[in-house]
Symmetry: C2
């Protein structure tokens, strides 16, 4: 049953993840052979800078010509860990045309144009796997696509970006502001020199698009995902969350609508109760909740990034792609038959926590409550702090307690309402004379 001609693998990219993939492939040959059912061989590694020293990576395999490598014709599986849209998309489709299956860690490409890649893979009769594109080593795509294939997923709610979780965790545990926490994350290697993709939520939005598409058997691209980063989260927001028994997390949230006729995908900071399992996800860890009709609530937790964890996910996919090559078949591919449309953020039903600086005089609450009522937004709780009751010392740290000059703070938590109605309510509140400012707005999730 064991064939002797080895399966040939081409590696595109040899950075942190790629070099770990190469290292494991060249040192764990016995295990990989046994698990695949045939030997597997690293046949070439395409890099941009061939002179860079790469510990444990066979120098004779290095090439700068990625296109020639994927066109060789004897490659069974191409592993792509370069990232970005082009030239990677062209390399992957070229690999398909030459009969290779592809294992990719490329969330940006999959979230931008997964449909094109899936169609090209189907046409070529090969596999496209990308477990490593979402949440590093945590098995998520395979469980969603295969383990839950007989179930109906209604919600995916997760922390899928380690950098922002590290920043928020520091803000929560030390009281630091955003900039200070970002500096620490950068110094410790958790944030890149240009942290935009992480802190503005682009990375999480790409993952949300991929997860929503798979979970709901439809197509979702990053352009469909409502995205808010965490650059505007303040120490005051975190303190305010604490007073509510909550913490702030940057969440990726994919929902099937109540009528089942549409889906939504969004990334934004949100308060979640400390009792929610996601609240205790610390540092750069990731965790994803999945809610399904029959399965109930499942959670998947682990390291969401890093060379070794990402390599683990890549190698799992590599073994699967190699097994399929041997069996002359392909695994479960794209499933987008529901064709459910993606609704805009305004239609998402959510809850707001709103902290207002208001004039400290009678009638303010009535005015504010009227604005909520006019927008059909129902209020869950109101907390009012005038000078007389400002005993909890929150004013001193600027988190919304009593101010000099007759101000008070009003903290309103709403019931669930369409996001458009909540957002219109906030705009109307800003126009009230008695409202001096909106100190903080944040959605509340996970209850």
């Amino acid at each position: 049953m064991m064939r002797t001609r080895p399966l040939k693998v081409a590696l595109l990219g040899c950075g942190v993840v790629g070099s770990e993939v190469a290292r494991i492939m060249t040192t764990h040959t016995h295990d990989l052979t046994a698990r695949i059912g045939a030997p597997v061989e690293l046949a070439g590694i395409a890099v941009r800078r061939p002179d860079r020293v790469r510990q444990g990576v066979p120098a004779e395999l290095i090439t700068t010509d990625a296109t020639a490598l994927v066109k060789r014709g004897d490659i069974d599986v191409v592993v792509e860990v370069i990232g970005g849209i082009e030239p990677v998309r062209t390399l992957i489709t070229t690999a398909f045309e030459h009969g290779a299956s592809v294992v990719s860690a490329n969330k940006a490409l999959l979230a931008a144009d997964g449909a094109t890649l899936h169609a090209a893979a189907v046409k070529a009769g090969v596999d496209l796997y990308y477990e490593a594109a979402v949440a590093g080593a945590i098995p998520l795509i395979r469980p969603l696509r295969e383990s839950l294939a007989g179930d109906k997923v209604n919600r995916v709610l997760g922390i899928v970006n380690g950098t922002t979780n590290f920043i928020l965790d520091r803000m929560d545990s030390t009281g630091a502001g955003y900039s200070e926490a970002l500096d620490e994350a950068t110094a410790l290697g958790y944030a890149e020199a240009d942290p935009t993709a992480d802190v503005e939520g682009f990375d999480a939005a790409a993952k949300a698009a991929i997860l929503a598409g798979i979970a709901f058997h439809t197509r979702v691209t990053i352009g469909d995902v409502h995205r808010e980063g965490l650059t505007e989260v303040t120490a005051a927001d975190i303190a305010s969350a604490k007073r509510m028994g909550c913490t702030v997390k940057l969440l990726a949230i994919c929902d099937r609508s109540a009528d089942g006729k549409s889906v939504t995908a969004r990334v934004h900071p949100a308060m979640i109760p400390l009792s929610h399992p996601l609240a205790s996800v610390r540092e750069a860890y990731n965790a994803v909740f999945v809610e399904a009709d029959a399965a109930g609530q499942l959670m998947f937790y682990g390291p969401g990034a890093g060379g070794s964890p990402t390599a683990s996910a890549v190698l799992g996919d590599l073994v699967a792609a190699c097994r399929n090559k041997l069996a002359g078949t392909t695994g479960a591919g794209e499933s987008a038959y529901t064709r459910l449309p993606v609704s805009p953020m305004g239609e998402v039903v959510t809850r707001y926590h709103i902290s207002l600086d208001v004039a400290d005089k009678p009638g303010v609450l009535a005015q504010v409550a009227t604005v909520f009522a006019e927008h059909d937004v129902s209020i869950d709780t109101v907390r009012q702090q005038s000078r007389d009751r400002g005993a909890d010392g929150v004013a001193a740290d600027g988190t919304g307690g009593v101010r000099e000059g007759g101000e008070a703070s009003l903290v309103v938590v709403t019931h669930r309402a369409p996001d458009a109605a909540l957002s219109a309510t906030v705009e109307a509140l800003r126009k009230l004379d008695t409202v001096r400012g909106v100190a903080s707005i944040m959605r509340v999730e996970g209850e």
Copy 2:
């Protein structure tokens, strides 16, 4: 690409899980057809009591002749949710011989004789899937077998029995004794009328055997698993754990030995620190930690039992088995190439928390410490409570504080040592004149 002849499924057993499988199969036909790539049809349901009312289960499909059903010859997949060893083993092998793949939720059979079943499936060229056999809806077997196929798993540590977790959670949160907590679990439906399989650890041991075999690519049967139930866990043990900042859980633990040349599998109550994610797994939930070389620490959490969650896992496997049937292939089967032997419990390296009732006189600690040294067991911490220092009020509840008549309590936590050495140490301690009794022994894990 869509074929019109439906895939035919035979269901063996129609209790809590089976009726939910039947219900979903008959109501979610559109989704199942789309995900499989062909229609799937329930062709027969074998039951023992045909007259029982089964809501939503087509009566015309009911038969009492399970053997005839699996021998029909037109069945593509047999779903087995009867449980137990015989007649199920014979039914499954007969199904294989007649060309059907099998999806089973039968942990007892898989843990007793998985090798025979796997060999029969390979011989027949069909699939044997059993995600539902371990931890209900939580995807564990597929992630271990496929997602981590390129990694090296070193440890699996989990709460895999909901009944015992419910009992321990109640004991921890209410201070109840074992019997009282068991009564509550029974009243609420979390424990069966005969709770032996759960509380004596047989159920968890079967799951440990299955997980160890898959995680370490070897064969482990339930007979290889060291098993201690929780019937001897007392309120005093729980209180003692609390004083150490721990809680008590019934854990299934599968380890690869430090030299990589053997594995161990065991089920027993253990103290784990409150900071460990498993400590916060409440009620009847399950959660499993997996530690792998490259992936690091992963956790999988969710409902570990119940009709719907188990049906979710069964249906995920059913979709996979049907897809493979259509493609004319089989999925990843047994991988037992490492042939690693299973070491006995005595060779497991662990830590003990030992609570002794001792005479309250000088020299006792020296005597006790000598016994530990003679067995090459190193002491981590000792806490001694004589009458003078018995201020924390633990004596009143019998949890090991100061007693009348010149007794004191001595709580010793060891460093890691072979279980045989720890156990021999306890036996030697019992023989000391100054040791009046061993109030509690428990292993400490998860640090």
